[in-house]
């Protein structure tokens, strides 16, 4: 678990993006959350860098990584089952400190503060056991928690636009009574102002440059399937649209990322009807809200991907990175595709390759 391995995989290039970090979640209880780094300047993939960068960290990075972001000179890794956010130097992955936060999920930044969702808000017996989730505000300079805001049950991904924090509430622990709303939190007062009903069991949420929200639903695993929604004017008079293909099929949105006007949506879902997995690699144009393709992989490589799980698109080149989680208990694979959907290279990762952060030259 402790030392890293290097592998030459791609070509060398000079760009203001020096490389990217990949956070491998690791299966629950395994304590195998690891971090890999791809160096664009040398074309080298380095697995498991955390132990080398932090030899004295007891039990390494932790159990189940859930989000990874670089903000300023620092990198923040949200480690769900280790109940902490690991703060590192972005260039070296050397540990700066940690913020303890139980069942923490996703992170977003705004003007010197980090906002992190957590499933573990205060417990109430009302008359049944109830535990709402919250967003915790953290000072990025001092790593102190400065405020909390209670939102819905089991809040997941969040994003910030137009002075509001938007939070996708899942209600994942409330089965079968999932949540179906996005919480709107005013960033100044840091209080929940309202809710936008969308669909059951929300997961991802991203704001595009027009302030539209792109929200995914996991579905309820019975009648309702996973689907993608767009909310226009979320801070004013929100309107929710379900994004489907021309044939009327939903997109499975296990993960998504935005580059320019393109929203990349990947996912696989088990269908009880066919007893098979249904997979898509979709691109949605966020201006027209049209699905451009449901399979941007054009060379057939998708047949060898077991479970597309993590996605990132290089902001400059448009190269697409896809993390294949495979069986979740064994190493995953990272695929790099050209913008045209042709495989450029692939490499072994840690367990469940899921979250990416690009490192810029400063």
């Amino acid at each position: 678990m402790w030392s890293s391995e290097e592998e030459e995989v791609g070509d060398t290039r000079t760009d203001s993006i020096l490389g990217f970090y990949l956070l491998n979640e690791g299966n629950m209880g395994s304590n195998k959350c690891t971090m890999d780094f791809y160096d664009y300047t040398t074309g080298t993939y380095i697995r498991n860098i955390y132990g080398n960068a932090n030899p004295s960290a007891v039990k390494e990075l932790g159990d189940v990584g859930n989000d990874l972001r670089i903000y300023g000179n620092r990198m923040w890794a949200v480690i769900n089952c280790s109940n902490k956010i690991e703060v590192m130097e972005a260039r070296t992955a050397r540990r700066v400190g940690q913020v303890n936060l139980a069942n923490c999920r996703y992170i977003a930044f705004h003007e010197g503060y980090a906002y992190v969702t957590s499933y573990a808000g205060p417990v109430q017996i009302n008359p049944d056991y109830e535990q709402k989730g919250m967003v915790v505000k953290i000072d990025t300079a001092t790593l102190e928690k400065v405020d909390t805001c209670i939102v819905g049950f089991q809040p997941d991904r969040l994003d910030i636009a137009n002075g509001k924090i938007f939070v996708a509430n899942s209600g994942g622990y409330m089965f079968p009574n999932y949540e179906n709303t996005v919480s709107v939190v005013d960033i100044g007062t840091f209080r929940e102002e309202g809710r936008i009903p969308v669909a059951v069991n929300l997961h991802h949420l991203m704001a595009d440059s027009d302030g539209q929200l792109w929200v995914s639903s996991r579905g309820d695993y019975y009648g309702n399937t996973s689907a993608l929604f767009c909310i226009t004017d979320p801070a004013g008079t929100p309107q929710v649209r379900r994004i489907t293909t021309q044939a009327g099929t939903d997109l499975v949105a296990e993960n998504m990322t935005l580059r320019g006007d393109s929203l990349y949506v990947i996912g696989t879902e088990f269908s009880y009807a066919t007893m098979q997995n249904h997979t898509n690699y979709g691109i949605v144009n966020v201006r027209t809200r049209k699905v451009l393709t449901t399979n941007f992989i054009t060379d057939g490589t998708d047949a060898s991907i077991m479970e597309p799980y993590g996605i990132a698109v290089h902001p400059h080149t448009g190269e697409i990175l896809i993390g294949d989680a495979r069986t979740h208990v064994n190493p995953g694979t990272l695929f790099c595709f050209s913008p045209e959907g042709l495989l450029l290279w692939k490499v072994r990762t840690g367990d469940i390759p899921a979250h990416f952060a690009f490192l810029y030259e400063r």
Binding site: M1, W2, S3, M28, G29, S30, N31, K32, T34, N48, P55, S56, A57, V58, K59, E60, L61, D63, I79, C81, S82, N83, K84, Q98, N100, A102, N103, A120, V123, Y129, Q131, S170, G172, Y173, F175, P176, H203, R218, G219, Y221, Y222, G223, S226, V252, E254, G267, T268, E269, F270, M275, S304, E307, R326, T327, H328, V329, N330, P331, R348, G350
Partner: protein, 684 residues
């Protein structure tokens, strides 16, 4: 008594009580001084009984001399067995025989299988050795034919036999009290009362309590390649506490032409679930409560020299509550209740001298209730039919059996799912052969067997809310085994008994039920029939009993197992370094073994044991991130028995993991370091 006469006693078929009484004199005399005849008794029983292929067994004094608290601890001394031990007194301990998976093991308690239709697991850590007389392990099935159909239905079986009452001449009552205590704040008092009511009926009542905080120190550290210590952390294992109470009442009877016994068992426990130690999480708060009750009986009657039958029955009621009060996780408070009803009849006929036949029919009924949302309340009816035959011709013994399994499951409608009804019907064979290659020499015998069997998907596999998959097929195993046993007894000289056994085997597991990620996030799994495992292995055992200067004796036992258990699931995942195809499956070491020695001088006994489990990986991608170090423990114990006119006192002290090795059997579940136990036992 000579070993020969024991053979004769054992050879006559199942006169349970008389047999027990006859054995008593041997065991009793063996107890104080004559451990050798005890040993012989054990080995003779194993070799020359009705079983074609002998089992591995531990009984009597041998069992007592091993530093073992539970049945699971004792089973570490069998070859071909891997224990999954989550650590501590209360931690889950299950066994995996010849790498086919824990669900393939049948555990039989006084002749009748302990069921768990919910998850198929039997926690062997819960059976204290206090009231256990013998543990026997069979590969495939017990290779004798006169048994219920269910005994033919597993890939491997463990038979736990509780103590049968035996009375010395002129005595009608035995009382036994013992108290054990030691590390982990363990306290374990127990009491047994045995009574002979008449020549034909005797009874036994046994109860024990186990309490422990389960606390122990463990240490994790990292040493850099330069030798410098990067970090070194010692912590105390938390939430491993247990409190359990067991009471068991049995009645044994014999009639002129048969035997019968009946038993009632109750177990009540509360325990913490210590959980995985991961970064920033050093304790857990999950709890589990169990209440297990069963009542069972068995009656054997010899109608004539050529026909006998056996009737068995059981009712079991198991209740379990799981609580997760951890506010950092999903709150869970789930209750489960299982019912099982079991009836069996077996009929044994001698068609011709040397040719026997057995026909057994079993019926079993299982239900499961759970306080889970959308639970489907499954009900299962199982009808088993077994036809078996045994044939002896000169030095050849043959046994063949065919088991027919018919299962009907029905579920009540859940909130969103439709009711399911499914049926499974299969025929599975087994063939056992043993041959004595040397004329007039029974010391050496060769043996072979083939068995094909399956395990049904458990209720959890099929119906657990969200995870279950009602379209699962049974998980099948096929086993081929070839081996020999050589043993010889001497009545004079240093060596009194030597036994060598070796077996080679090949197993195939198909349609293995594996949890597969289902997609769309948040740890959603689903059970699928996708796994495939090939296992090739060798087991070897050597055993010697030595005696010298009248009152010294030494028993030595060596065990070695080699296993190559490879994952054959996904041929496309075949990278020579990190691919799972062809990789050694999770937690199966290539090499493992044990050494146990027992030195006796008069009433003083000294026992030493060494257990070794070689390097393993915790998944079938055999890369260094998944590597698990070998572990080995040395245990030492001493016993002294003080015989007084009317009562006997036995004192024991043991030190386990003498060299304080820090190890994990399961990744992130630290095991205890050096620990102590002391006990005193009074018998009168």
């Amino acid at each position: 008594m000579t070993p020969r006469s024991i053979v004769i006693i054992l050879g006559t078929i199942f006169p349970l009580l008389t047999f027990a009484q006859e054995r008593d004199s041997v065991i009793h005399s063996a107890y104080g001084q004559d451990s050798v005849s005890c040993m012989m008794e054990v080995s003779v029983y194993a070799r020359r009984s009705e079983e074609i292929v002998p089992s591995q067994r531990l009984s009597g004094k041998r069992l007592e001399s091993l530093s073992s608290f539970s049945v699971a601890d004792a089973m570490r001394y069998f070859s071909g067995v891997q224990i999954k031990d989550y650590g501590g007194v209360g931690g889950l301990k299950t066994i995996d025989i010849r790498s086919m998976g824990t669900n393939h093991m049948g555990v039989f308690y006084d002749g009748i299988q302990l069921g768990n239709a919910q998850n198929g697991l039997v926690d062997l850590g819960r059976f204290s050795l206090d009231n256990v007389e013998e543990i026997a392990l069979y590969n495939g099935q017990k290779a004798q034919i006169f048994q219920p159909a269910r005994d033919y239905g597993t890939s491997g079986s463990v038979y736990i036999r509780t103590r049968r009452p035996r009375f010395e001449e002129g005595k009608n009552q035995n009382l036994r009290a013992s108290l054990k205590g030691g590390s982990f704040d363990l306290i374990n008092p127990s009491l047994t009362w045995e009574q002979r009511w008449s020549k034909r009926i005797s009874s036994s009542l046994s109860a024990d309590y186990t309490g422990a905080s389960g606390k122990y120190r463990f240490r994790y550290r990292r040493v850099l390649p330069s030798g410098q210590v990067a970090w070194d952390t010692t912590a105390v294992r938390q939430n491993g506490d247990i409190r359990s109470f067991r009471v068991e009442a049995s009645v044994f009877g014999n009639t002129p032409d048969g035997t019968w016994n009946a038993k009632a068992y109750y177990y009540d426990s509360e325990r913490g679930i210590p959980g995985a130690i991961v970064n920033n999480v050093w304790k857990h708060s999950q709890r589990q409560w169990d209440r297990n009750f069963f009542a069972q009986g068995q009656w054997t009657k010899h109608v004539s020299d050529r026909y006998k039958f056996q009737v068995s029955g059981k009712y079991a009621n198991d209740w379990m509550r799981y609580l997760n009060p951890d506010t950092t996780l999903m709150y869970q408070d789930n209750k489960f209740r299982q019912n099982e009803l079991y009836l069996s009849t077996a009929h044994h006929v001698e068609l011709l001298p040397g040719w026997q036949m057995n026909l057994a029919a079993d019926y079993q009924y299982n239900t499961l209730d759970a306080s889970l949302t959308n639970f489907v309340f499954p009900v299962r009816h199982t009808l088993l039919l077994a036809l078996a035959t045994q044939y002896e011709y000169r030095r050849l013994r043959l046994m063949a059996s065919l088991l027919g399994t018919n299962v009907w499951d029905r579920t009540t409608k859940g909130i969103t799912s439709d009711p399911v009804s499914r049926a499974t019907s299969r025929w599975t064979p087994a063939v056992y052969v043993s041959y004595q290659p040397l004329k007039d020499c029974s010391d050496l015998s060769l043996r072979a067997f083939y068995k094909g069997i399956f395990r049904l998907p458990t209720f959890n596999d099929l119906y657990y809310t969200e995870v279950g998959n009602a379209s699962l097929q049974p998980e099948t195993t096929r086993q081929w085994n070839l081996g020999f046993i050589y043993s010889h007894d001497w009545y004079l000289g240093l060596f009194r008994h030597v036994e060598l056994k070796a077996d080679g085997y090949f197993n195939m597991v198909d349609n293995k039920i594996v949890a597969i990620p289902k997609g769309s996030g948040q740890y959603r799994w689903m059970m699928m029939n996708v796994g495939k495992v090939h296992i090739a292995g060798v087991e070897a055992t050597a055993e010697a009993v030595m005696r010298w200067r009248r009152d010294w004796s030494l028993v030595l036992c060596l065990n070695y197992t080699y296993q190559s258990a490879t994952d054959r699931t996904d041929p496309t995942d075949n990278d020579p370094y990190y691919g799972t195809y062809g990789g050694q499956i999770a937690y199966i070491p290539w090499h493992s073994g044990s050494v146990a020695g027992n030195l006796t001088w008069r009433n003083l006994g000294l026992n030493y044991s060494f257990i070794y489990v070689g390097e393993r990986y915790h998944t079938s991608a055999n890369i260094r991130e998944n590597y698990e170090q070998p572990w080995y423990t040395h245990d030492l114990s001493a016993t002294y028995r003080w015989q007084l006119p009317r009562l006997a006192l036995t004192f024991a002290v043991e030190c386990n993991n003498l060299f304080n090795q820090q190890y994990d059997v399961i990744h992130n579940y630290p095991m205890p370091g050096r620990n102590w136990k002391g006990s005193v036992k009074v018998e009168w």
